[in-house]
């Protein structure tokens, strides 16, 4: 006989304790970000798709944080788009916002057409290295947010604690894992999927491949100046505490991809 699980709780703590009992093997604690349609509708009502366009790359920009709800189907892409259209007088005002929704649709279409790309390199690395040159496992210092690179440790701690980080921070971490530490993108993608509330195999894994260059024309790299520009108000970007990132792109490229020279 099947029996149904409890769905009414006095408060959120009781629900969390119940889920912990159901899954004693699951790591970590609950996030402050709450699930459910009511929370999703509140967040949708608060978006500003016009301001999103000019500020989305900044840590304190007008990002929507809708992705956990979209991933779980609590909100559909169509519903979010329709709401965004109601917030502008001309659709062109929200082009970047619509394009970000479209990226998700694109990743889903790609993965549906090629399910094996979820975990296999779509193309060879374009870094001057082959896949065998990359480590299989994620180093413990990265998984624990103890890399010694202050801004990255802050992003990792936020990921572990909340299950959400800004897309730009995701790109920094992915680039650090794959290019600075030479670890296979699959190890990083698996780590993100463990923690991200919006962890979606299509968007997540294909984005990791985009950063790694196995699904793009060149590897994505960043430096401290870039982090300072977009997250300088939010994380410690002092050169002393972020040494590996404190360099020009030319220097980084030569150091990270010595087999390529300056051909990127």
């Amino acid at each position: 006989m099947t029996s149904t699980l409890q769905t009414c709780f006095d408060d959120r703590d009781s629900l969390i304790a119940y889920v912990k009992k159901l899954a004693p093997w699951a790591d970590g604690a609950a996030s402050q970000i709450q699930g459910g349609r009511l929370k999703a509708e509140m967040r949708l009502a608060a978006i500003n798709p016009i301001k999103y366009g000019g500020s989305r790359n900044f840590g304190d920009g007008h990002v929507t944080r809708l992705s956990p709800y979209i991933h779980h189907g609590v909100l559909s892409l169509n519903e979010v788009r329709n709401h965004a259209l109601s917030q502008c007088s001309q659709p062109v005002q929200i082009t970047k916002f619509i394009q970000e929704l479209a990226w998700r649709d694109f990743w889903q279409l790609v993965l549906r057409a090629h399910p094996h790309w979820a975990w296999a390199d779509v193309e060879p690395y374009k870094t001057g290295f082959s896949a065998q040159d990359y480590a299989d496992a994620l180093p413990a210092d990265i998984a624990e947010g103890k890399t010694g690179v202050a801004c990255l440790d802050a992003f990792i701690n936020e990921l572990i604690e909340t299950g959400y980080i800004h897309n730009h921070a995701r790109m920094y971490l992915a680039s650090y894992v794959v290019h600075y530490r030479r670890v296979k993108w699959q190890a990083g993608a698996r780590w993100f999927l463990q923690h991200l509330l919006d962890g979606d195999i299509a968007s997540n894994n294909l984005s990791w491949q985009w950063v790694a260059s196995t699904f793009s024309n060149k590897p994505y790299i960043f430096n401290l100046e870039n982090v300072e520009r977009y997250f300088g108000k939010l994380v410690d970007t002092s050169p002393a505490l972020n040494q590996p990132l404190h360099a020009t792109y030319e220097t980084l490229q030569l150091g990270l991809f010595p087999n390529l020279g300056m051909t990127l």
Binding site: T2, S3, T4, L5, T7, C8, F9, R12, L15, Y18, V19, K20, L22, A23, W25, A26, G28, A29, A30, S31, I33, Q34, G35, G36, R37, P68, H71, H72, G73, V74, S76, L77, N78, E79, R81, N82, L85, P91, I98, L101, A102, W103, D105, F106, Q108, L109, V110, L111, A118, T162, G163, R190, L193, Q194, L196, L197, G199, D200, I201, A202
Partner: protein
């Protein structure tokens, strides 16, 4: 006599998903809390809590067990399942379809693409999608 059933999964956790319209009125919806699936996916507690509190707001019975085993036990006349994107879920749904009559229901589309095309880069997709991406319901008919 067996009845139809809706099998929700974690990519379709809303009452307005088309699967509810596809099934006959009053069709019961279930969600199987599948430990093996979650362990396989290596979910942290954060993710599990998010899914659970979303489920608590839905008209759905949460049943603990293996997904396939639970469905076989309930023996529905027809199972309505939202289409999935995660290869793990797709594989699970494929295994169910071999044992039980099932109808897969797609979510509402974001854009209208004139024909099935394979895309390798975003702007190949965007060049086709842009025409309807800015329209209500992603359609010129809306």
């Amino acid at each position: 006599m067996s009845k139809p059933l809706i099998l929700l999964h974690q990519e379709a956790l809303r009452r307005t998903h088309p699967v509810f319209d596809a099934a006959p009125a009053e069709t019961k919806a279930i969600y199987v809390w599948d430990d093996a699936f979650f362990k396989d996916a290596n979910y942290s507690l954060k993710r599990l809590v998010f899914v659970y509190e979303t489920l608590c707001e839905l008209p759905v019975d949460i049943i603990r067990g293996g997904t396939l085993e639970t469905v076989l036990q309930l023996a529905p006349s027809l199972l309505y399942i939202p289409a999935a994107n995660n290869p793990l879920l797709i594989s699970l749904i494929d295994s169910i379809k071999k044992e039980v009559p099932a109808k897969i229901v797609e979510d509402e589309p974001f854009v209208t693409l004139q024909r099935k095309t394979e895309f390798r880069r975003f702007f190949q997709y965007w060049n086709k999608a842009e025409k309807t991406a800015f329209l209500l319901d992603g359609s010129e008919d809306a």
